[in-house]
Symmetry: C2
């Protein structure tokens, strides 16, 4: 057996071969990294942690897929601010159950996914620990001065729009975890593909930012209704969601059908009716890493055109209201209060 | 019993009452923070993780002290780059064994220690996890363009200098952990004080940076000989350390005497002779968060004057050599090879 690598050798190996990145004056290996932001820009920074068993299970996700999803979670936060991602720091706590190859696969996949959006890893930290594998990424990006999107700014009458097919992450997990042992065999491949490697919305956000049509944005990482509630609270407005306008393509519908049949046989936490179950998946807890936007209504056509140019699904799913009421127009046409029930990492 | 707080409420409570900080355009609570660096500066970023049981033990450190030490570890990295610390992001993974009050005490102490050097916490993440408490801080600072100190740049003939009293951290831990159960009762209070709340070297580094006397710097976080080896490797030089010049004040000498007596009674990993044991503490594994500097020899007097003005202990402890040989002049005058044996978090 090879000698265990020490911390310095491991960090050196993890970052070897990574592109150095533009604006990196001092890269990994010193006490800190030195970076050169462009003058006249604002800096946008976010941090996100994945804990094994909590944010990913190794019987459902490979180490590569978990790394890609952590990168996607951070990139999604910067997309929601219309920022250009540039640099990242990565802190890993690896248990003895993870060998060096596991850690390297996770890190390489994380680095590759970040690099696809132009991000260089400029520093990091590697510790051992007795608990679950834990990875924290801090992502830094740039945006024009005062040009960052925030959650505040939505106005009554604005169009509520969303990218992608929210509900896919919840459908994936529900299907994979329905049986014992968990298995991805029940998940339509087209649905699995968008979960194990969530598409980046960075390019779309950057293109849309140039058009100045977006009044507020949030990324869908807790679940559509919960994140909508965050945005409404920050903006001081309400919203009506149209259930019939929520985008569901064939992979998501197929997942809802399979789940509905399974739910029909066993009692579980999910509603049994196919339509109700689909809506539950779409607006309930789920980390889809999609963008929820408040758009100037006069700009909807232009936003839709930008989305088509970049091959990003964009759906108009509701309207912002005055006051702070949140409601959903069900497929039956009935208007009901919308209760945010996003994923809460700590209380659940 | 109160209801458990959800993640949003906990983060909101943790950051409530923290100073917002200069240059913070969007603080905690959005998808990311928006910051405004000063034009024409370089950005300096570092990340450091503390894992309970590995970087601190709760039978030796209180949660407040652990938080202060994590802040100190990050501040020390920026001091070693001559950077002005400005903003931080904090990611916590809390096990059920830590109640909300523990987490808040840790966070408040971390925030207070960072704030003393002008740092605002601008974002964070809070997860639960089944393993040990884990905290990752990413610290961002600024420095004049191309003015950051690095580990590279030491030249033959440069003065090797160090702040504070390296060895204090190793002495503290050795004394506290010598008995069973561990106890700080054996540690001289003056020694404990500098470990549970390590003095910041940021102001000293910033003052010294204005004098342009420092050719290379590293912070002593792995141990003096290990960090000296890192600096020498990066600079392509060697160094001779003078054991008799290593600074040992009365609290550190008292600790060495107590330990020497204890070692004399029991067999353990430490050398028994008082002088040898003192040197071992001073140059061996230990996270003192002090600065190790390569100084232009013509500037030593000025550097010493800056240190006196700021009440920072600064000692001239050796000389940089050509080649890459590392050696130590023992108290006997004998020249021996110096083997770096810093603390390796992963291999040990």
């Amino acid at each position: 057996l090879p000698e265990p690598l020490n911390e310095f050798e491991r960090i050196a190996r993890l970052v070897a071969g990574l592109p150095r990145g533009e604006g990196v004056i001092v890269g990994p290996g010193d006490d800190a990294a030195v970076l050169r932001p462009r003058d006249g820009r604002d800096l946008v920074v976010t941090t996100d942690t994945f804990v094994e068993g909590r944010h990913f299970r190794r019987d459902v996700f490979s180490t590569e897929e978990a790394g890609a999803r952590l990168a996607a979670a951070n990139l999604s936060d910067l997309a929601a601010m219309a920022a250009l991602p540039r640099w990242a720091l990565v802190a890993l706590v690896a248990p003895h159950a993870w060998d060096a190859a596991d850690v390297e696969r996770f890190h390489r996949s994380l680095a590759t996914t970040l690099a696809a959006d132009g991000v260089a890893i400029v520093g990091g930290n590697l510790s051992s620990g007795d608990g679950p594998f834990t990875a924290t990424v801090t992502l830094l990006g740039e945006v024009g001065r005062d040009a960052a999107w925030t959650r505040a700014g939505a106005r009554e009458g604005d169009v509520l729009a969303v990218t992608g097919h929210p509900g896919s992450a919840a459908a994936f997990l529900s299907l994979a975890l329905w049986g014992n042992p968990p298995s991805r065999d029940r998940v339509p491949p087209a649905l699995a593909a968008r979960i194990v490697a969530p598409p980046s919305r960075v390019a779309f956000a950057r293109a849309l930012a140039g058009e100045r049509l977006v009044r507020a944005a949030v990324d869908v990482s807790d679940g559509l209704s919960a994140d909508l509630a965050h945005l409404c609270a920050a903006s001081g407005v309400g919203a009506r969601l149209e259930a019939s306008e929520l985008p569901a393509d064939e992979p998501l519908r197929a997942a809802a059908r399979t789940l509905s049949a399974a739910v029909g046989q066993e009692r579980g936490p999910l509603p049994a009716g196919e339509g109700e179950l689909l809506t539950y998946l779409q607006i309930g807890p789920g980390d889809d890493y999609e963008l929820l936007l408040a758009l100037d209504p006069a700009g909807w056509d232009r936003a839709a055109a930008v989305a088509r140019e970049l091959d990003v699904p964009l759906s108009r799913i509701g309207t912002f209201l005055s006051g702070q009421r949140l409601e959903i127009a069900a497929r039956t046409g009935e208007i009901r209060p919308l209760h945010p029930h996003g994923w809460d990492h700590f209380a659940s």
